[in-house]
C-alpha cells in the first residue's frame, strides 16, 4: 500500500507539474479582449491561427465597458494586444488617454474602405456596423399589451406607454456599449442633455432590470421576465433564428455602432496585433463576421447578412459620435448618479 500510495502521489505531482509547465510555455500568440459573441470569436481566432500560425488567447465578455475598464486598470503593464468589439465610443477614450498604439492597416487602401470607418488619427479601425432594436416576447406581448388594444411599439417613445411599466429590460450603460449609445441617442433625439436625461428618467420607471451585458437583455425577454427589451440587432436576430421566442423591431430613429478594433499600447505582441487588424479587415474574416455575427461589413465587396434588413433601410437618428465619445465618462457617471444608484 505504501509503495502504491507513493507512486500515485508521484504521478499526481508530476501530472500537475507538467500541466503547469505546459501552461507556462511561451508560444507566439496574441492576447485579445473581445466584446463579441462566442461563436464569431471562436471562428475568427481559429481562422486567424490557421492562416498566420499565431495562437490567440481570448478573454471574451459581452460587455465593452468591462473590457475598457480592465484595459485602463492594466495600463502600467498591459496584458492584452487587441481590444476588439464594442463601439468606437469605447476605443477612442482609451486612445485619448494614450493607451492605444496608432496603426493604419494597408487593407484600408486595398479594399477602399469608407473613411468614416477608420479613425482619422489611426486609433481604431471599424470592422462592422450594428444597430439598436426593440425586442418583444411575443406571448406576453399578445396577452398583456395587445389585449388592451395597444399596437406593437414602433419607436422608442412607444415604450414610455404606462402599460409597459416594469416590463422593459435594458442594459447598464456603464458596462454595456449598446446601453450607452442608447442613452446618448436620447440626448440628441430630445435636443439637449437635460431633456435627454428627463426622457431616460421616464424610461427608468418602465425598466424592470438593467442587465450587465447587452445579450443578457435577450435572455430575460425570451424567458418571459420582461415583455420588451432594448438591445443590439445582431444578437437579437441570432436568437430569433435559433427559434427563441423573440420578435425584433427596427425603430426609425435608432442608434448604430461602428464596432472597433484597436491595438493596445505596450502589449506583449504588437506585430501580431497588427496582423490581426489586417486579418479582421480581410475579405474572409469580414464574410465570416457578417455570416455568423449578423452585422453589416465595412467592406463594399462583402455581402450583407441575410435575414437582416439592408443597411440602407435602417433609419438612423441624429447622433453626434464625437460628442458621445468625448463625454462618455461624464455622461455615464451622470447616469449612475441620477438613475442607476436610485434603484
Amino acid at each position: 500500500m505504501r509503495r502504491q500510495s507513493l507512486m500515485l502521489i508521484g504521478v499526481v505531482l508530476s501530472a500537475t507539474a507538467l500541466s503547469l509547465v505546459g501552461l507556462a510555455e511561451a508560444q507566439q500568440k496574441i492576447v485579445i479582449y473581445a466584446a463579441q459573441d462566442e461563436k464569431t470569436t471562436n471562428e475568427m481566432t481559429r481562422m486567424f491561427t490557421e492562416e498566420t500560425k499565431i495562437g490567440t488567447e481570448v478573454i471574451r465578455v459581452a460587455a465593452a465597458g468591462t473590457l475598457a475598464t480592465r484595459i485602463r486598470a492594466e495600463k502600467a503593464a498591459p496584458r492584452a494586444d487587441i481590444f476588439m468589439g464594442g463601439s468606437v465610443e469605447f476605443h477612442e477614450p482609451l486612445a485619448t488617454d494614450g493607451l492605444v498604439l496608432p496603426y493604419r492597416s494597408p487593407v484600408v487602401e486595398q479594399a477602399k474602405i469608407d473613411p468614416a470607418y477608420v479613425s482619422p488619427q489611426n486609433y481604431w479601425h471599424g470592422f462592422f456596423v450594428n444597430s439598436l432594436v426593440i425586442i418583444l416576447n411575443p406571448e406576453r406581448f399578445q396577452r398583456e399589451i395587445a389585449s388592451v388594444g395597444i399596437a406593437k411599439p414602433k419607436t422608442w417613445d412607444d415604450l414610455l406607454n404606462p402599460v409597459y411599466r416594469k416590463k422593459v429590460i435594458a442594459g447598464n450603460p456603464a458596462t454595456c456599449g449598446g446601453a450607452y449609445i442608447f442613452s446618448a441617442l436620447q440626448i440628441f433625439r430630445q435636443g439637449g442633455e437635460a431633456q435627454g436625461f428627463d426622457w431616460l428618467k421616464k424610461l427608468d420607471g418602465q425598466i424592470l432590470q438593467y442587465t450587465p451585458t447587452c445579450p443578457g437583455t435577450i435572455t430575460l425577454v425570451t424567458r418571459g421576465e420582461g415583455v420588451a427589451g432594448i438591445t443590439w440587432a445582431d444578437d437579437s436576430i441570432e436568437a430569433m433564428l435559433e427559434k427563441q421566442p423573440i420578435e425584433v423591431i427596427f425603430p426609425p430613429d435608432t442608434g448604430a455602432e461602428i464596432g472597433g478594433i484597436s491595438i493596445i499600447k505596450g502589449g506583449p505582441n504588437p506585430e501580431g496585433a497588427k496582423k490581426w487588424v489586417d486579418f479582421a479587415l480581410g475579405k474572409k474574416a469580414q464574410a465570416l463576421k457578417t455570416e455568423l455575427g449578423f452585422t453589416y461589413p465595412v467592406r463594399a465587396d462583402v455581402d450583407p447578412p441575410k435575414n437582416v434588413p439592408p443597411l440602407s433601410a435602417i433609419r438612423l437618428g441624429k447622433y453626434d459620435r464625437k460628442f458621445a465619445i468625448e463625454n462618455r465618462d461624464r455622461l455615464t457617471k451622470k447616469w449612475e448618479a441620477e438613475i442607476g444608484s436610485k434603484r
Binding site: T69, R70, R72, A73, R79, L208, P212, T213, T219
Partner: protein
C-alpha cells in the same frame, strides 16, 4: 485521550525550560517561522490591504450612498432569511437521515450532497430555466407565471444551495446522540414528542447553532447566485464586483468588501468559540448496540414527503442543467443534439485550468495544513496559538474580500505574480487552508502521543516523526483535505472572477461569460462537464483513501 505521561520536549513544565527547548530544534523553528511568514504575506496582507485601501472619510460617508446602504440591509435580510430556512430544512433532513427506519437514506444523502460539488451558480442558473416565468416546471407543468428576479427566488436558491452544510453538521450531532438515552426515556413512558423535546433537541442545540452560523457565513459571502438571478437586488458582494467590473472603482469595491468583514468575523468567532465543541473527528461509521426506536407513522410520512420534495427540487434543477447541455434551444427546441459540446470543447483549456489549479492548490494547502497542524498539535512552535489563529482566519473572510485583496496586492501591474496561474493557485490554497487544517488536526488528535514519544526516544527528529509515524496514520485525512480544497477551488467563482487574466481563465469564469452572452445551453454543457469531472475526481479520491468520509466545506467537527 489518556493524559500525557512522560516529559516531552515541547510540552515541558517551566517556561525557561520551554524557551531553551525550542532553540534545540532549529529546523522546527525555521519551518514554523517560514509558515508564519507565508501566512502573514498571503493571508494577513491582503486582508489589511482591503481594509486600509479606502480612506477613512469613505467609511464615514458610506451612509450617504443610498444604494450601498440598501445593499447592506439587503445582505443582512438575506442572511437572516436564508439561514433560518436552511437550518430548518437541514434539521428536518438530518432528522430523517438518522432514523434507521427511514427509507432510501443513501439516495437522499447523495442528493443532499450534490450542491456541494457543483459550481455555485448551478442551482441559480437552473432555477432560471426550470422555475422562471416560462420555466419548464412553473409554466410548463403548472401553468404558473412567476417572475424569478428578486429576493424571494434568491431566498429559495440560497436555501437549496446551503442546507447541505446544515444537514451534514446536524446529522453528525444527531447520530452521536446515544440511542440508549432515547430507549431509557421510552421505558420511562415518554412518547416521541417528549423524547424529542427533552433529549434530541437539547443535545442537538449546539450543532444546530453551529450549523446556523456556518450557513450564515456562506449566505453573507454568496456571490454567484445573486449575480445570475438577483435581478436588480443590490447586495454587498455583487455591488463590490460591479464597482470593479463596470467602473474600475477599487475604492468603492474595497469599501463594500470591508463592510462584509465585521459580520463575517463575528459569526465565525461565535461559531468557533461559543458553540463549537471543537471535536475534531473524521466521520467513520458509528455503530450502536441499540437500535433507535421507530418513528410514529405520521412523522415518518411527513419527513418522507418533505425530504422527497427537497430531493425532487434539487434533482429537477440538476436535470435542468444536464438536459440543457443536450438540447438545441432550452425550453423551445427539445431536439437532442451534441452541438453544445462543440462550444464546451473550445473551453477545454479553461476546464483543464480549473482542474490543474485546484489540484495544485489542494496539494499546497494539504502540505501546509499538515505541517501547521502538526506544529500546533505538538505545540512545537512558540507562537503556536498565533499559527492556529492564522490558519483558521481565512474561514472568516468572504471569497469576494479575498479576491479583491489578492487583486490589490498581487495582481497589480509590476508585480511578477500578476495575471499568472500562480496567483490563482495561491488564492485558492490560502482560502481553503482552514478546511484542510481542521481535517488534519482532527486526524492528528486521534494519534496518541506515546507513538511520537517512542520514535523520539529512538532518536528521530521531529519531522522524521511526522513523516514516519503521523503521516501514515492520517493519510486518509490528508486525502480528504485535498479533496475538500479541490472541490472548493474548482467550483469557486468569487475569487476567480477578480483574478483571471489572459493566461489563467478558469471554467467558472467562462460559464459566467457564456450566460452573459445568452448561450445558456453551452453554459449548461460546460457546467455539466465540470460537474462530472469533479464527481469523478472525488469518487477516485474516496476510493483511494479507503472511505474516510469527510464532506467538503464543513468547518468544524
Amino acid at each position: 485521550m489518556f493524559p500525557d505521561s512522560g516529559i516531552h520536549p515541547a510540552t515541558a513544565v517551566t517556561s525557561g525550560w520551554r524557551v531553551r527547548a525550542f532553540f534545540r530544534e532549529p529546523v522546527t523553528l525555521t519551518v514554523g517561522f517560514a509558515l508564519g511568514g507565508l501566512l502573514a504575506v498571503f493571508v494577513l496582507l491582503p486582508i489589511l490591504q482591503v481594509i486600509t485601501f479606502p480612506p477613512l472619510q469613505d467609511y464615514l460617508h458610506l451612509p450617504e450612498n443610498s444604494r450601498w446602504m440598501r445593499a447592506t440591509s439587503n445582505t443582512f435580510r438575506m442572511v437572516l432569511l436564508s439561514t433560518c430556512t436552511s437550518t430548518l430544512v437541514g434539521f428536518l433532513y438530518a432528522l430523517a437521515m438518522t432514523r434507521p427506519d427511514f427509507p432510501a437514506r443513501g439516495f437522499f444523502r447523495l442528493v443532499a450532497v450534490l450542491p456541494l460539488f457543483s459550481p455555485p451558480f448551478t442551482i441559480g442558473f437552473s432555477y432560471l430555466l426550470m422555475f422562471g416565468r416560462f420555466g419548464v416546471i412553473t409554466h410548463g407543468l403548472f401553468g404558473l407565471e412567476v417572475s424569478i428576479l428578486g429576493w424571494w427566488s434568491l431566498w429559495v436558491v440560497q436555501t437549496l444551495s446551503n442546507f447541505p452544510y446544515a444537514a451534514l453538521a446536524i446529522e453528525r450531532a444527531l447520530a452521536a446522540t446515544p440511542p440508549t438515552l432515547e430507549a431509557a426515556a421510552r421505558d420511562l413512558g415518554g412518547g416521541w414528542l417528549a423524547i424529542f423535546r427533552t433529549i434530541t433537541l437539547p443535545l442537538a442545540r449546539p450543532a444546530v447553532a453551529g450549523a446556523a452560523l456556518l450557513v450564515a457565513i456562506y449566505v453573507l459571502a454568496d456571490f454567484a447566485n445573486p449575480l445570475i438571478i438577483g435581478g436588480d437586488f443590490p447586495l454587498l458582494a455583487t455591488e463590490a464586483w460591479y464597482r470593479i467590473d463596470g467602473w474600475g472603482d477599487l475604492r468603492g469595491a474595497t469599501l463594500l468588501a470591508a463592510t462584509l468583514l465585521p459580520p463575517a468575523v463575528l459569526l465565525f468567532v461565535a461559531e468557533r468559540y461559543w458553540v463549537s465543541r471543537r471535536t475534531y473527528a473524521v466521520i467513520g461509521g458509528r455503530g450502536s448496540s441499540l437500535d433507535r426506536p421507530p418513528m410514529p407513522g405520521l412523522l415518518k410520512w411527513f419527513l418522507l414527503a418533505f425530504c422527497g420534495m427537497i430531493a425532487g427540487l434539487i434533482l429537477s434543477l440538476y436535470f435542468g442543467v444536464v438536459a440543457g447541455a443536450f438540447t438545441r434551444t432550452w425550453g423551445v427546441d427539445w431536439t437532442p443534439t451534441l452541438a453544445q459540446w462543440y462550444v464546451a470543447l473550445t473551453k477545454a483549456d479553461h476546464i483543464r485550468n480549473s482542474l490543474v489549479f485546484a489540484a495544485a492548490a489542494g496539494l499546497c494547502g494539504t502540505v501546509l495544513a499538515t505541517i501547521a497542524a502538526y506544529l500546533v498539535d505538538q505545540k512545537a512552535f512558540p507562537a503556536w496559538r498565533l499559527l492556529d489563529a492564522l490558519c483558521v482566519l481565512p474561514a472568516a473572510v468572504p471569497g469576494v474580500f479575498f479576491g479583491i485583496g489578492y487583486l490589490l496586492v498581487f495582481n497589480r501591474p509590476g508585480v511578477p505574480l500578476a495575471g499568472t496561474a500562480l496567483v490563482l493557485i495561491l488564492a485558492f490554497t490560502f482560502h481553503n487552508l482552514p478546511f484542510s487544517y481542521q481535517i488534519a488536526r482532527a486526524g492528528l488528535a486521534q494519534i496518541h502521543q506515546h507513538m511520537a514519544d517512542a520514535a523520539a526516544d529512538l532518536g528521530a527528529f521531529r519531522f522524521r516523526i511526522l513523516w514516519d509515524v503521523h503521516l501514515r496514520l492520517i493519510f486518509p485525512a490528508c486525502v480528504a483535505a485535498w479533496t475538500t480544497a479541490f472541490v472548493n477551488s474548482v467550483t469557486n467563482l468569487s475569487i476567480a472572477v477578480f483574478l483571471v487574466a489572459g493566461g489563467n481563465q478558469v471554467a467558472t469564469f467562462s460559464i459566467l461569460g457564456l450566460i452573459g452572452d445568452n448561450r445558456l445551453e453551452a453554459a449548461s454543457a460546460v457546467t455539466t462537464a465540470l460537474l462530472f469531472v469533479t464527481l469523478g475526481v472525488v469518487a477516485a479520491a474516496w476510493r483511494f483513501s479507503r472511505g474516510a468520509r469527510v464532506i467538503p466545506g464543513v468547518l468544524s467537527g
